[in-house]
Symmetry: C2
Subunit: 186 residues, 2 copies
């Protein structure tokens, strides 16, 4: 029967990015991901280019070579079939993410080292998360200003605030963790 093996999440992600734009090059896709969703999703060139070729073979995207540009640019656009794949996938239940955190592992194993070692990790985390949170708030303001009126706005805002809330929670946790560990070390 059909040669339709299931789409990988990376394929869907790239297709999804394409669904938000008229047309993009592989390079553009990487740029866009880095600038907008890198706090919860990433794709490298090593994935992007081969995937783009596959999507083309499956007619989920089309390509045209850019004429206006001085450079060698292949501009990809999503097809109707591609759009359907995307909206179908969005409606499916999300796979639970299996996170991996080196930092948490270090903290969990903390009894093996001097408490100060762990506390230093936590202090630097609290700091960097607070800084990150500030950046997310900055970005939110920027996006509200620039994308005002676009129908994608609420989804952008909500994605940014996911990063914000996470950073805040991490900072809060780090600070409370320091207190608990100090008490335990007495």
């Amino acid at each position: 029967m059909g040669s339709k093996q299931r789409q990988s999440t990376s394929e869907i992600a790239i297709l999804g990015v394409l669904s938000l734009h008229e047309s993009l090059s592989g390079y553009d896709i990487r740029e866009f991901i880095g600038a907008s969703i890198s706090h919860f999703w990433n794709e490298s060139f090593g994935q992007i280019y081969p995937i783009l070729a596959r999507l083309k073979r499956q007619k989920l995207v089309t390509v045209v070579v850019d004429k206006d540009s001085s450079r060698d640019r292949k501009l990809y656009s999503i097809t109707e079939d591609g759009r359907q794949k995307v909206s179908q996938w969005i409606a499916e239940k999300a796979q639970p993410d299996r996170p991996r955190s080196e930092l948490l592992l270090k903290v969990f194993l903390g009894s093996q080292v001097h408490p100060d070692v762990v506390i230093e990790h936590l202090e630097s985390l609290a700091e960097s998360c607070a800084a990150q949170a500030a950046i997310f708030q900055q970005i939110e303001r920027e996006v509200r200003r620039l994308d005002s009126g676009k129908r994608t706005l609420p989804y952008s805002i909500v994605s940014i605030r996911a990063g914000l809330r996470l950073a805040q929670a991490r900072a809060k946790w780090a600070r409370e963790a320091i207190v608990i560990i100090r008490k335990g070390a007495e």
Copy 2:
């Protein structure tokens, strides 16, 4: 020219688990991970057994075959060298984690589908995170009761509370996200 290629994080994780115990079998290691740190770390048997063999070759662990047990059990114990590796690694700066969240991606692409589709995802997330948070609180109480006095206690507590704080933050975010999206859809 020692044959010392750098340790992978999975190797360190397994070594770290071993550092908290007298001796464990591969099966025990999987069990322990599943019961205590699965919310931020996981290892499958496909990793554990080959890694255990490698660690043995590097003299970071020793093995004895269990006699008391009726079953075929190889009990692994960490060596002094192994302990050093662990504490050395803990002290190093943690690599930032690169998270990947299907759910966030679905939300980010939400403009491609009917708002209700995304809102349903968010409602179910808010629910499951609230439930998870309650479980973490339950576990915290249990661990305080059972591990009271152990020097690993504060590190266990803090790890559990990382899960708790994260679940709470996610639930909070999901609820606020629903409001934002509903407003945007008017």
